[in-house]
Amino acid sequence: MAGRRHRQRPEPEIPTDSFCDIAFLLIIYFILAASLSQDWGFHTDIPAGQKATEATDDKSILLRSDGLFWGDRNVSIAQLRGELSGMKLPDRDPNSRVVQFEARGNVAWQRYYEVLAAIEQAGGVPGILMEGGKR
């Protein structure tokens, strides 16, 4: 009986192998999720105050719920892109690249965004006319 007491007991261990598996799965998740979160869009520095008054042309863009207008002409977004690229805005002086843009009525962000993107992609600076007055 006394001999039995002297037998070596196995050391108690906490199994940690599964922790590693979980941790590495989490790492893979974070790597994938972080690299997939690239945002796409465009930059627009809306001029404040007086700059907007220095518009490039008499023509301005008007967006209403019933259509898009370039001056007094009803145009599609593709036509507007063509008109803006024809103005060769990148060749102009930075101060005369402002294109006036006004939205009337409750137009959705999708259509507003398309117009802003068209101005930016043509090398222009949107001079947004807001309800309270020019920006």
Binding site: T16, F19, Q38, W40, A108
Partner: protein, 143 residues
Amino acid sequence: MSSRRRSRLRRPKTVVPVTSMGDIAFLLIIFFVLCSNFAKKAGRNVEPPVSPSLSPLPKPKLYVAVDADRRLFFQGRPIGSAGEIEAELSRTLDPNGSIEARTVLFECDKTVTKDVFEPILESIAKAGGVIGAVGKEHTGREK
């Protein structure tokens, strides 16, 4: 006799120490959690507008969002009005900083109307921010 003895003798188990691997793995997790920015966007009901020829935007330091239910968010937390966004941006932004430093990522649901998003654009501009308007590249399949 000798073979019986051998079979009775216990061989020591081969154990690969994995405790330190676990430590390293959890340190890496903490690193990714702290360095990632997607947590700010989690759970938002935002369908961005579609447009052709968009370019990749930098990782945002400042982030404003409007979801489909017209709720405003600043840095991932709900905020009351465009005026509050302007106040927050005025505190954070350096008007003389670089374009990258002044970029405010603006993500808005495509169905949100002008009465909601235009005051926000105005407040970002007033605070000296450059708007990084988030969209989705046109693939030709959209309506």
